[in-house]
Amino acid sequence: MTASADFAIETHNLRKAFGPQVAVRDLSFVVPRGEIFGFLGPNGAGKSTSIKMLLGLVRPTSGSATVLGAPLGDVEVRRRIGFLPEDFRFYEWLTATELVRFHGRLAGMSAGRLRTRVPEVIDMVGLASHRDRKLRGFSKGMLQRIGLAQAIVHEPELVFLDEPTSGLDPMGRRMVRDILRAERDRGATVFLNSHLLSEIEVTCDRVAFIKDGAIATVRELGAGWQDEVRVAVRADGVTDAAVSGLSRWTTWARLDGPELRFGASSEQVLPEVVRHLVGAGADIFQVTLDRMSLEDVFVQLVGEDRGL
């Protein structure tokens, strides 16, 4: 068992009910320090309420949790936490610089540090040429960027980002991805709530799926995280006997007209499978490897009928 000092977040049976409506049923998970942790789930699964509980915005009905070792609601620990809310909104009469300065001051930064850090972080989010413009004229994407700047201005140890890329174009998304990686490389832990599965897939070290107010599964991402590779083979002359003979390498196999489909634990088995089929008299025209994406896992977990 890892010591709890290694976890940025640790929750035990967190529950939140708004009257008769249960938003979060039973939330227990840990987030290791120094990782980018993805938080996924369909609409209404309890993602936002969970984040709000971890940030002390919403009081849990029962259960407990620690964030950076402090109990929920601790004020001092927030010096080390950054947060970009979903649909970031702020006083639109402030300029970009004033907004980030204000948040830096609230986070307890010194005047000297603010002088150098504020322009630096505004530059980082690509708004250097807009730093003295009022937020009133900002597009949704620009607000999202300035929101990210205020979340990381004080170099927090833990950053919560709720849908950070929702208003961004592809370049903006790449920028966010780069910033998140830079934050991780600096040693920060990033808690990322996003609907964009592909974003999570390329950015996160670990992902938790939440369903009906509880954690359905937690997966480690990175190379070879998938449980299964799926293969489609277009071939002539594949016999039933040849298909049954595949069971040494595959978890399942099905012949569907001219197409043979099977699942395997690794792509390492492919040469053996092809040799076996050719040996059994089949002519092979095409072999397609279909990795299971996060989306497949997601759909498998929540069911096809649930929208994102």
Partner: protein, 277 residues
């Protein structure tokens, strides 16, 4: 305490940057212009007539009170309109989320915003109040009796309304908050006048009703105390004046108003501290 000052500072800056304060100042300037013209016309009219200086003083002092009363009403309305949105609106839009997750206790957010508004109101009243007195002095030479005490009482009245918008803002939406506070302000207004009328009608029931209204919302009674402090005995003795000293709220009533303010702000802080954002 640092968080309190940061929040007070941003609230003050917001007041200066948003149009509402400047619009209210323009409205104040317009009313002042009307007031100055009326005072001037009155002086002209008096010049053509032989009248006792005693009556003349009473009329001019009465007009100064009308000017100061308008000043007071504008300040109360400005207080309510600028502050109904500050907590309710920021909870509704989610703006508060990025602030409440900073290392600042929630009571500091409420108190900081509150102090920022108090500073804005105090500045606004200082400008319009001083300008009104200056116009009266320049045209007629009439001066209020205790100008500083009067000023403080008017600010006090506004701050009571402010505490109410904060209190309801932690529970309700901006719109509901506005309706509630304006409604209570109406009750206070009615209560104040009922007490004033009771001085003439001698009806015990009207007095009771007036007192009950003032207990529900003591803002107007603070104004009537201010009116009493602002007028000399002579000016306040004009029995048909709406500002006559017929029913003067006691120091106990002022103490009640202070306690009312403290409780409203206290409950606002307490509830904001506990509620989900």
């Amino acid at each position: 305490m640092n968080g309190v000052w940061i929040m007070a500072g941003i609230t003050w800056r917001e007041a200066l940057r948003r149009k509402i304060l400047w619009t209210a100042l323009v409205a104040g300037a317009l009313l002042l212009a009307v007031f100055a013209a009326a005072m001037h016309l009155q002086v002209l009219e008096f010049q053509g007539r032989a009248m006792s200086p005693f009556v003349r003083y009473q009329v001019e002092a009465g007009m100064l009170m009308i000017g100061l009363y308008t000043c007071d009403l504008l300040a109360v309305v400005l207080t309510i309109l600028t502050s109904i949105d500050t907590i309710a609106g920021e909870i509704g839009s989610g703006t508060i989320q990025a602030i409440a997750t900073k290392p600042v206790a929630r009571w500091q957010i409420v108190l900081g915003k509150f102090l920022g508004f108090v500073a804005m109101i105090a500045a606004y009243v200082a400008v319009t109040y001083a300008a009104t007195i200056w116009v009266a002095r320049a045209t007629t030479g009439v001066l209020p009796q205790h100008p500083l005490l009067g000023y403080l009482l008017i600010v006090f009245e506004c701050v009571i309304a402010l505490a109410l918008t904060f209190l309801f803002g932690t529970w309700f939406s901006t719109l509901t908050n506005g309706v509630l506070v304006l409604g209570l302000q109406g009750v206070a207004f009615m209560g104040g006048w009922l007490e004033q009328v009771s001085g003439f009608s001698q009806s015990v029931h009207i007095v009771t009703l007036g007192i009950a209204s003032s207990l529900l919302m003591p803002g107007e009674s603070v104004w009537r105390r201010a009116a009493y402090e602002l007028q000399t005995q002579l000016a306040g003795s004009l029995s048909f004046s709406p500002f006559a000293n017929v029913s003067i709220p006691s120091l106990l009533a002022m103490g009640y108003a202070a306690a009312y303010l403290a409780v409203a702000l206290g409950v606002a802080v307490w509830h904001f501290q506990r509620r989900d954002l």
